[in-house]
Symmetry: C2
Subunit: 438 residues, 2 copies
């Protein structure tokens, strides 16, 4: 059964809606309202007539029929009976935010099995329990928290609410934007593979970022990942890579994380891009989401900062990323137009006396050569106008922009790029990691 | 001869001072004024009577005698004769910002040798040429750029102006602050070892952060580093670690970076802390600068986010950092006071339903045990009041604070810590790198 209505319902009931701003049952209703959800919102709570200005229903039975999605935020033991009510209302998808299930030992595990049995019997697909919901910025379905409304090409699938919230927040602040988010929790029914399947076909999704702890159905995951990564890049961060980390995974979600080396090589085989920490996960996703796909890996570094260029080279050699020799004819041309102090090599070092026009000329020249497939443009001096140069040349070839040590000018120039939705990186080695993933 | 007057002159002449805000000769005078330099500033330029409201002298001869420091920003070929004028004025230290020396091939190299010979003859110690100057926030000697005035325990020594500017800017923005900065350039005379010697004795300096490309006098550097690292932590990022990176070093500064493996093991032997990129260099320095030194490496993670805890564990295992089992008695005590859903282990997972009081109680209990030497406190939910808890407990034992995915509450709580000068990290793995370096 499809999970489309999980992301695209025309109505959503919040069972356990609350008037208390401290409670998740309030936060979810508030976020749906503030994200301007396109469909109907039905708060359900027997003790309230109205919540946040919306009519409140005493039960799902009282709510308008054919609610397509229920968000459940009530104590664990009452979840099975609510699922039966869901069925009577024709709900086909439910998000169970409530905790108190398999993450809490034997008793919770039994309750989770009961929930799953009930859901299957009633024909309801469930996300969770013990999860942090769904966000779809294209229809305002922020059935999650924090409130994230900025639309963009990045979709996120995680087991951890915090990791998702961190990625969403950074992507909103930096004007990258989010397509869909799914925070899986205990994965009693819907798992990463189901969401990846959906996102593979989702037109709003340009890149999928995964944070996974345990993957129970390895084959199902790899099949989904293979298909998806043919359509769009899939970036994965695995939690529990170390032995002690794997034990922590078991405590966290009662799931087994398996041997990391096997996971790693399987991911590589299916074309997934692996990263090692949450900073890399975000930055690689951000780069892929917004930088045009290059023809290949051949890379040239343009810099005003010798030191930053050297650090970029070291990172390229570690990964590795192919730093090509400059095409002969480009060398001639660059020698003609650049001042004598510039070092015409890769890195192309424009030196500290650079101005924006020199970047513009250098990028223009290098962009003519097919061998030059990526340009890492490092701005390490207070170069006024550099943002306009990047903006002008941005659609012609893949530019990975690094800004650091630019002082006040940097704040202004970076703001111009962020406003234009162009990613900016603050560390040459992170930019090189992005190139390796593009 | 001492280089103390390089950082602590009672007067500074800017030779090549300019009225044009685009020129470095203007920027340096402006930054000295705006940093509120405690001594006298003498702009020198034959074509101006006044620069930025200061009386301008036509030459160093005209300027008041016993100027202790000269900052030279004039065309390269005129530098030797200015050094002679320096001598007549009794200048003992000069910063040569001007480029056009050994970084520009044979001819420049000859000129640099002439500069060095003249300086030696005249008894003047020089920084540079082709350098980005000195900053001493304690007396307002910002003979560099950008303008950095926030005082703090971090001192920076780099060959790259951009790397220094990046570190200084981040440290200013995050309220960590800077003690001294020296940007070495061509190192004709004063090199990293001379500066490290000075900083080892400098009371304002709590940690020394180095970015080095070539180290010509290996023995001198290691001797200085050994002595300094007995007094205070010394963190080093080496540029040109890879073969191609080493070639780029040669183009950048005409210096040889040597075999990296030898450098690395020598650094380790002398007690230096090595990092791999500019993000780590900054974050490790920031942590060491502000977090009290622990008794040892035994570490406990407290988290509200299972996922972030797992990523912290993976990072700890990679480094490695010793994650201890919780002391038996602390387990009993934690079981008494924490709700049932908490996972009493290392990581101590307070789970998503946590509040600030639970963090407070947990930190209080764990801080009683000598075996617990570091606490990594990860806040991954919108926990109001967490900043006050951290502030209250901060001086009792080393707390490494991570905040991510906290939504709007996070912005507010993080601001409170930054205002209090407490470092906050956004990535659990980076926090663990800090623990390994504390």
């Amino acid at each position: 059964m499809t999970i489309r209505k999980l992301f695209e319902p025309n109505s959503v009931a919040v069972v356990g809606a609350s008037r208390d701003p401290q409670k998740l049952g309030n936060v979810v209703v508030k976020n749906l309202i503030e994200a301007d959800f396109e469909g109907k919102i039905y708060p359900v709570n027997p003790k309230a007539d109205e919540i946040l200005g919306l009519k409140c229903y005493s039960s799902l039975e009282e709510a308008p029929k054919k609610t397509q999605l229920a968000v459940i935020v009530i104590p664990a033991e009452r979840v099975p009976s609510v699922l039966e009510e869901c069925h009577e209302n024709n709900v086909t998808n439910a998000i169970i935010i409530s905790g108190g299930f398999s993450e809490k030992g034997e008793e919770g595990k039994e309750l989770e099995e009961k929930v799953l049995d009930t859901a299957e019997e009633m024909g309801i697909r469930i996300l969770g329990p013990n999860c942090q919901g769904i966000n779809n910025t294209s229809n305002g379905l922020c059935a999650s928290w924090p409130l994230i409304t900025k639309e963009g090409p990045l979709s996120i699938v995680t087991q951890s609410g915090t990791i998702a919230a961190a990625l969403e927040t950074w992507a909103q602040e930096e004007n990258i934007g989010i397509a869909k988010t799914a925070i899986l929790g205990n994965k009693a029914d819907i798992d990463e593979a189901d969401i990846i399947d959906y996102l593979a076909d989702d037109e709003d999704t340009g890149v999928i970022g995964l944070y996974l702890e345990g993957v129970e159905k390895g084959r199902k995951f790899l099949d989904a990942a293979r298909v998806a990564s043919k359509e769009k890049p899939v970036v994965v961060l695995k939690g529990g890579r170390s032995e002690r980390g794997a034990e922590a995974v078991k405590s966290h979600t009662q799931s087994f994380s398996g041997k990391y080396e096997i996971f790693k090589s399987a991911c590589r085989q299916e074309g997934l891009i692996e990263v090692e920490n949450v900073t890399e996960l975000y930055n690689v996703c951000k780069g892929i989401a917004k930088i045009p796909e290059p023809e290949g890996k051949n890379t040239v570094i343009i810099t005003s900062s010798g030191g930053s260029g050297i650090l970029a080279v070291d990172a390229a050699e570690d990964l590795p990323v192919e730093l090509i020799d400059l095409p002969e004819k480009s060398v001639e041309r660059l020698e003609e137009i650049l001042p004598q102090e510039c070092i015409i090599d890769n890195p192309l070092d424009l030196t500290g006396s650079v101005n924006a026009e020199m970047y513009d000329e250098a990028i223009k020249i290098l962009a003519r050569y097919k061998d030059v497939q990526n340009l890492v443009v490092i701005s390490g001096d207070p170069i006024s106008g550099i943002a306009d140069v990047i903006k002008k040349r941005y659609d012609r070839l893949p530019l990975v922009t690094v800004m650091l040590g630019m002082g006040e000018v940097g704040t202004e120039e970076e703001r111009k790029l962020v406003d234009a939705g162009i990613p900016v990186f603050s560390d040459p080695s992170l930019a090189m990691k992005v190139v390796s993933a593009l």
